[in-house]
C-alpha cells in the first residue's frame, strides 16, 4: 500500500502531504467528507475522535475533538470554502490550543487506474505558525521516533 509523503520545506510556511489509496476517487472523497467515516480513520488509533459538526458545503462549519487515553482533549475547527468536490476540498483549520493561528488546507483527489492520489497542501500564516502547529497540535499520544540524522540530512540535501 501507499506511503505517506510529507514535505515541509525550511523557510516556506506550507506542508504538503501526498498519499495513494487503492480505491476509486469517489470512495476516497466519501471517506473524507462523510463524518461517520471520518471518525473511523482520522488521527492515531490511541486517540478517540468525536465530531461536533461537519457541514460539508460552502460556508459550512466543522469541528471535532480528539481525546487521548489520559482524557486530554484537543479541539479543532474550521470552515469549508466553496462546494467540496473530488476536485477540491478547501477548508480552514484551527487547533483550539493555538487560537488565531489558522491554516488553509486544500485537498485534491486524482484517480489513476482505479487508484487515487490524495494531495493536501496546508498553508500557514507564517513559518513559525507551521512549526508551532506541528510541534504542539499533533502531540496527543506521541511516541519518540528513531533519530535518523544522516537520513534527514540527505532529505534536506535533496530538497
Amino acid at each position: 500500500m501507499g506511503k505517506t509523503q510529507i514535505t515541509a520545506e525550511p523557510g516556506i510556511p506550507q506542508i504538503i502531504i501526498t498519499r495513494e489509496f487503492d480505491a476509486a476517487r469517489d470512495l476516497v472523497f466519501r471517506a473524507y467528507t462523510d463524518p461517520e467515516l471520518v471518525v473511523q480513520w482520522l488521527g492515531p488509533r490511541d486517540l478517540t475522535m468525536t465530531i461536533d459538526q461537519y457541514d460539508v458545503r460552502d460556508g459550512g462549519k466543522w469541528r471535532y475533538v480528539s481525546t487521548d487515553a489520559a482524557g486530554n482533549e484537543y479541539g479543532f475547527h474550521g470552515v469549508f470554502h466553496g462546494t467540496p468536490s473530488p476536485d477540491g476540498i478547501v477548508q480552514t483549520f484551527e487547533f483550539e490550543g493555538m487560537p488565531g493561528h489558522v491554516s488553509l488546507d486544500t485537498l485534491t483527489l486524482e484517480e489513476q487506474g482505479g487508484r487515487t492520489l490524495a494531495r493536501s497542501v496546508s498553508t500557514f500564516q507564517s513559518v513559525e505558525d507551521r512549526d508551532g502547529m506541528v510541534a504542539s497540535g499533533m502531540e496527543g499520544g506521541v511516541h519518540e521516533s528513531h533519530e535518523r540524522l544522516t537520513e534527514l540530512l540527505a532529505k534536506l540535501q535533496a530538497g
Binding site: 505517506t4 506542508i15 492515531p44
Partner: protein, 127 residues
C-alpha cells in the same frame, strides 16, 4: 524556548549551501578551506554561512594550531527530526486506518445501491 530554537534551526537549514556544509561535516570536522573546496563560493562567504550555522547551534568551532575547525552538533537536528516524526506518525497512522476503511467499504459496496448505512455499520465494528 524550543520553538525559537526550531525557528533558528529552520532558518539555518533554509539555504542549500548550509545544508551541504552540514552533510560534509557528518564525515568529520573540517577547516574553512576544506569546506569551501567543493563550492564555487568564496571562503568569506562560507565563513558567513558557518556563522549562521553556529548561531543556530548546529556547529561549533575550535581553533587547532592555525586552522579553525568546524564540528557538527547534532542535537538541534534531532529536535527537527522529532518534530517531523510526530507529524509523520499522525498521518501514517491515519492513512493506514483509511486504507482499512476503504477496503471494507469496497467489500460492502458491491451489492449496494442506495445510501451507505450498511457500509457505515460494517466500518464501525473494528474501532
Amino acid at each position: 524556548m524550543a520553538g525559537d530554537r526550531l525557528s533558528l534551526v529552520f532558518g539555518a537549514l533554509a539555504d542549500p549551501i548550509r545544508r551541504a556544509i552540514l552533510t560534509r561535516l557528518t564525515e568529520g570536522d573540517a577547516t574553512v578551506a576544506e569546506i569551501a573546496a567543493p563550492f564555487s563560493v568564496s571562503q568569506p562567504a562560507i565563513s558567513r554561512h558557518l556563522k549562521v550555522l553556529e548561531q543556530a547551534g548546529l556547529i561549533s568551532r575550535t581553533r587547532r594550531a592555525t586552522a579553525r575547525l568546524s564540528h557538527l552538533d547534532a542535537e538541534p537536528l534531532r529536535e527537527v527530526t522529532t518534530w517531523l516524526a510526530r507529524y509523520q506518525r499522525f498521518w501514517d497512522e491515519s492513512h493506514e486506518r483509511l486504507d482499512e476503511l476503504l477496503a471494507a467499504l469496497q467489500g460492502e459496496g458491491k451489492d449496494e445501491s442506495g445510501r451507505d448505512n450498511a457500509v457505515l455499520a460494517k466500518g464501525t465494528d473494528d474501532g
